[in-house]
């Protein structure tokens, strides 16, 4: 007869904090936390001590003081008597402007190059490889300052456009002027415009025309989507898909065109007056250089992503779709693209993130983005290193985390459901 006795219950000893795996992880975590807190406390006490020695108590009051510097490329009204805060907001808008422009052109270029790299034509494939390697292996900052230097040194000056036999002429039916100071393009004007609306206590003005156009365009996109849903339903019920191409095109285009006509849309062309161009939209060469360099550089990376995404879909998928009787266009849109996009989109978005972060290199060519205003001139004028740099980092962090959040949401949506 055997008796089973419980093992003697161990009493807790101090040594078990290290030797017993049940408690050791606790010990390590507590030690790590304490070390981290000590480090943070040490840094903060050093900072407080140093700032007290310098006579600079941390304060954000400088944000409401007049900035006293000019921002040469801006999306909103601004003069040098406005506050540092407004300058920083304009800088942020400039960052977003170049980031959005860059993402759009980089995507278009990158997709074209990535597809062409897979071309059966040997020569085209090689040319695109040369492009990709050339742009990927040279620093983006070099491209930015290089393109900036080219625009300054080789493009004509505004005064070259003057006189009877001018050294330079305007391009595209006399509507676009390319000068070494920047690009002048026609601007949209409304002869029967609705004016501006002031928001946030008349700090910012937003064009009512723009809002109206966006609303109309959004509504027509929605209506077009409804037509598609209806066609889908009819196809499911009857098996015959009604032709909706013309209907949908008209719904998307016509209301917007109609609204433009009502508002009296016309273009305002830039014209040479005195020593410089007046009218039109003026894009400084710093913006052009930054935009071009970021687009060309990021396009090389996007091309590789697109190529990898298409190559990741096995040939059997195409063949299986064809065997089901789908036409080549539908094979692409129903079978290949949804799978390839799952591979392409996450790295694509992380490249958008990189482009946005790289736009901070604007400071090298004097484009007034967030780095140039808040962490550049404001820092130098007020001497508030700690506040400005931390604020700038925080803003970039918020932008990055929002883009990552979008990426995670998308990843979860398209994730393959596995066991």
């Amino acid at each position: 007869m055997t008796t089973i006795t419980d093992p003697q219950r161990e009493t807790f000893r101090l040594g078990m904090l290290i030797y017993d795996t049940r408690y050791r992880s606790m010990t390590i975590q507590v030690v790590a936390l304490i070390a981290f807190l000590i480090l943070i406390g040490w840094l903060i006490s050093n900072t407080a001590q140093n700032l007290a020695d310098l006579g600079k108590e941390p304060s954000f009051r400088f944000l409401w003081e007049p900035a006293g510097y000019d921002i040469n490329q801006r999306l909103l009204d601004y003069n040098s008597q406005d506050t540092h805060l407004r300058a920083a907001v304009l800088g942020l808008l400039n960052t977003l402007l170049v980031a959005v422009m860059g993402c759009i052109t980089a995507t278009i270029l990158g997709v074209i190059i990535g597809v062409l790299r897979l071309s059966p034509n040997w020569l085209v494939g090689r040319l695109m490889t040369v492009y990709v390697e050339m742009f990927r292996n040279v620093p983006v900052l070099l491209w930015i300052v290089f393109i900036m230097a080219i625009t300054i040194e080789t493009l004509p000056q505004p005064r070259d456009f003057r006189g009877e036999d001018a050294a330079a002429t305007m391009k595209v039916f006399d509507s676009v002027a390319i000068t070494n100071r920047g690009l002048y393009i026609p601007e949209p004007l409304f002869s029967r415009g609705l004016g501006d609306v002031e928001v946030a206590g008349n700090r910012f003005e937003i064009s009512l025309d723009l809002i109206l156009l966006l609303v109309v365009f959004g509504a027509s996109l929605y209506a077009s989507a409804q037509v598609k849903h209806r066609a889908d339903r009819i196809q499911e019920q009857t098996g015959v898909r009604p032709k909706t191409f013309w209907k949908r095109s008209a719904i998307v285009v016509l209301p917007t065109v109609f609204t433009l006509a009502i508002l009296g849309f016309h273009l305002g062309y830039p014209a040479l007056k005195g020593f410089n161009f007046q009218g039109g939209i003026y894009m400084r060469n710093s913006l052009i250089a930054l935009w071009l360099a970021l687009s060309l550089y990021t396009a090389a990376f996007i091309a590789e992503i697109v190529r990898a995404g298409i190559m990741a879909i096995s040939k059997g998928q195409t063949e299986a779709a064809s065997a089901l009787g789908l036409r080549p266009k539908r094979v692409m849109s129903l079978v290949i693209l949804p799978q390839a996009l799952r591979v392409i989109i996450p790295p694509l978005i992380s490249n958008y993130l990189n482009l946005t972060k790289n736009s901070s290199l604007a400071i090298a060519v004097g484009y007034m983005d967030l780095t140039g205003t808040l962490m550049g001139i404001t820092l130098n004028q007020t001497g508030r290193e700690l506040e400005t740099v931390l604020m700038g980092m925080l803003v970039y962090l918020i932008i990055s985390l929002s883009i990552s959040a979008v990426m995670n949401w998308y990843n979860n949506r398209v994730k393959l459901v596995e066991r």
Binding site: Q29, L33, N121, V138, V145, L386, M393
Partner: protein
């Protein structure tokens, strides 16, 4: 009728015909061209357009490159030489001005590192001083050559394994060769590691390994923070052995890029591995700290971290601390690279099948042993492409230091373009810098392909 089967049926051939060569249009260069360049009308048009584009580009670039201006001393002289040759285009003369490269290439390589012999007992001034044999340039060149020697056993299979000892010593040799000073400082840093190792060996054999690690770290810190200063001073006064020291201000050009890049790359890999393991670990607080660090660093642009290095780091440290700007930049670039490295390695860890972890546990390996013997070798192999592209990114990002005023090639290019003699130079100087970066980065990416092939163990 000899070839046919005369007796049975007339049309059946009874002997094999000799094999004939394929048609001339299907093989060789013509066949290849037909298959790859001119298959169909669309492809043919595209090929012809591409050829035209290549011709236009080459026709513009080649005459520009072949321009006999190597000995010119200013841009105006270049223009005179080219005008003398009658090479005038619509926009002034056409042709490169290579004189700027001849004039400034040493500066682009070494910055303001003294181009004359220097010795420890003479102050480095403006005029050539010292009585040494070689100009001080030999020091960065030697550092670079030794770097290749130190890396060889890590990168390739053939070099003797004994070279790994030299690899271990190199991190202490490199700063001494570049910055100079007494030899006792790098030796005392090295001594700290030796002390830590001895303490660990002694304690872990007689007590426990965890206690050994803690005591080793404490001993090394005590040595570096308290004792080593006195010891170095004493040894230096007894036996002054050393080479002339060079200021950080003199550092510049590609030497600076390579220094920052190599140190950041070398340090970021181990830190990145630790961060990746921390992010994958079950310890909640450790994981949270690692995630916070990685996401913070990856969320902000490098340039803001460099601003921290140049204006904020001195505020964060105890009053009176003032250490070298290059060191501060290296610290920030290393932190930046580590966060990206951690994410790449985490990808490798996540890609390993769960069975590998379970098998390592089943073998009775503890956490560190299983990481060392089973997990890491496979995870690192998977992440090689990502690791190398992070390396390339770090090396390219070293150009950002020009924004905070360090004289890397880009910073120098601004100075050169502002020089009266070379005002107006664009293509030559940026082309030269771009070419050098291209050579480095392209060879790194080719090496990663070679490494992937070498480590490939699956059947293909």
């Amino acid at each position: 009728m000899s070839g046919t089967h005369a007796h049975t049926v007339a049309y059946v051939r009874e002997s094999m015909l000799p094999e004939q060569a394929p048609p001339a249009t299907e093989v060789g260069i013509i066949g290849w061209g037909k298959a790859n360049l001119f298959s169909g009308w669309f492809n043919s048009i595209v090929t012809i357009l591409s050829l035209a584009a290549i011709y236009l580009i080459l026709a513009a670039i080649l005459p520009w490159i072949f321009s006999p201006t190597w000995n010119a001393t200013s841009l105006n002289e270049c223009r005179e030489i080219l005008a003398g040759l009658g090479r005038e285009g619509e926009h002034g003369v056409s042709g490169a001005c290579w004189g700027v490269i001849r004039d400034r290439w040493l500066q682009l390589m070494f910055g303001f590192y003294p181009p004359y012999p220097i010795t420890p007992d003479v102050n480095i001034g403006e005029a050539p001083v010292g009585s040494g044999v070689w100009p001080a340039y030999f020091r960065p060149i030697l550092t670079f050559v030794l770097l290749i020697v130190a890396l060889a056993p890590v990168l390739f299979e053939h070099p003797p394994r004994k070279l790994l000892y030299f690899t271990a010593i190199y991190p202490f040799l490199m700063p001494w060769l570049l910055w100079g000073g007494t030899i006792w400082s790098p030796l005392s840093v090295l001594a700290g590691f030796v002390i830590a190792f001895l303490v660990f060996r002694f304690v872990s054999t007689s007590y426990s390994s965890l206690l050994g690690i803690i005591l080793a770290v404490v001993a090394a810190l005590v040595w570096w923070m308290v004792l080593s200063g006195y010891v170095v001073d004493a040894l230096d006064s007894i036996l002054p052995v050393g080479i002339a020291s060079v200021d950080s201000r003199s550092f510049g050009g590609f030497m600076l890029s390579i220094t920052i890049g190599v140190v950041a790359i070398g340090c970021s890999l181990p830190i990145g591995i630790v961060l990746a393991l921390g992010r994958q670990s079950d310890l909640l607080i450790v994981k949270a700290l690692c995630v916070g660090f990685i996401e913070f660093i990856r969320g902000v642009p490098l340039i803001t971290l460099l601003f921290v290095a140049s204006v904020l780091l001195n505020i964060f440290l105890p009053p009176g601390t003032n250490f070298d700007i290059i060191l501060r930049v290296i610290i920030m670039v290393t932190l930046f690279a580590s966060a990206y490295m951690a994410e790449v390695i985490r990808g490798g860890l996540a890609a390993l099948p769960k069975g590998q972890y379970e098998a390592a546990d089943a073998l009775g390996l503890d956490y560190w042993k299983s990481q060392q013997l089973v997990i890491m070798p496979q995870a690192l192999k998977i992440s090689i492409p990502g690791i190398v592209s992070t390396f390339i990114g770090v090396f390219k990002d070293t150009t950002l230091v020009s924004i905070i005023g360090l004289l890397d090639p880009l910073g120098l290019s601004n100075a050169i373009r502002a020089d009266a003699a070379w005002n107006g130079i664009v293509w030559e100087i940026y082309g030269f810098i771009a070419l050098l970066f291209f050579v480095f980065c392209f060879s790194m990416s080719r090496y990663s392909m070679y490494l992937e092939r070498r480590l490939q163990t699956d059947h293909r």
